[in-house]
Amino acid sequence: MDTVNLDAANYKDLLKRYIDTQDEQSLYGAEQISKLFIKNNVPPEEIINLHIQALSELYPNLSEKTGHSMNFLLETMISYGMAHQEYQTLREKQLELKTEIAVAAGMQETLLATTKPSIDGLDIGVISVPAHQMNGDYHHFIKGRDGSLGVAIADVIGKGVPAALCMSMIKYSMDSLPEESMSPKAILENLNRVVFRNVDPSMFITMFYAQFIPSEQKLRYSSAGHEPGFYYRKKEDTFEEIEAKGLVLGVSSDANYERYEQRVEKGDMVILLTDGVTECRDGDRFIESEEVLEVIKGYAHLPAQDIVDHVYKHFERLQNFQLRDDFTLIILRREV
């Protein structure tokens, strides 16, 4: 078949052929021209005009009324053409925005990067996956000079870019805290002041801060309204909720956080998560936290990193590979 082009002569020939033969090949030609119109941004009124011209050349004696009717059709296409052009511009703008967000997401990844430290006798697994391009969950590991390990896990109420911006602030306030004040209680009280002063009142951040002290095999922790984690007792093969009370960050300027302590036995696990994990959905149904624990139990014989990876894959599949909320899961297990 001849290559299609958009000139008037070509349109006229094709139209003539169709009127004479009504064959499918001409209609196939019409389909190709139609695609070319779109590709070259030809507005609908121009197409009608092309048709009017072709008609008048093919049938110079066509009735005047037919001519009027074609002009009427052309008139009705003008607004359609305008809408199409607006749509084109908006589409270009959307692409620009997408690219910008991708760059921002890359920057966020660099800014919030944290490396999983290696602590003797502690097996650590962590996974954090954003629902959209930018992550509103945050986790951070800090290795103290005394050999302790600090773990922060936080969630901004909200998703996307605003949540991500908010998290960058948290990260830098944490970096600026002196190491002496590294008790979970003090850290949360400090951050609470920062959030209260700097963040829009409609935005809340929940955070769980835990500190593992290897020399004492103890976990110290405090919570600012964060989704409760779980403690796994190897001996009894049971899970229990890690109870910790505390106000969400940024609500009150002088919130106090309680200090909790837990002895960690050999083989025990500390499970920290965000509500993206416990609020996974199976169809229209929210899963129960027991289901999360059930899945963790199923992989408990594996290294901590493999457990969190498998749990993520399980729920990713359960939700048809479309996360509704940012998903962060951390598992700490005492080895020796």
């Binding site: 009124e45 005009n49 052309l74 008139e75 003008i78 305008m82 052009q85 607006e86």
Partner: protein, 133 residues
Amino acid sequence: MGLQSCVNINKEWDIVGARQMGRDIAREIGFGTVDQARIATAISELARNIYLYAETGQICFEVIDNINQKGISMIAIDSGPGIRDISQVMEDGFSTSGGLGAGLPGVKRLMDDFDIKSEEGKGTEIRALKWVR
């Protein structure tokens, strides 16, 4: 420069009058059917803006006849509330058109040249021009 002809916009019916006058002038100076239709649509948008937001105003037409090109210039003037943020109304998808491509960005696309001046509380003046191709 040719003579100015104006239409007062006070009621919805006047939009049709403005379209008619604009189209007649456009046809006379040699615009094709498609461009006539575009000019009429641009006039509709401007006249409707006056009718909806300023209640009363005027649309004037002028034939521009240079040595090498001919065109139609239209000026829409009202003493209505004015536009506070012109950049915003010139943004695609902002106006009440809701993705219908209309509004001032639509007019700008239909014409070759577009200019707008507005002062809050005093009124708006929009000039738009299209050349015969």
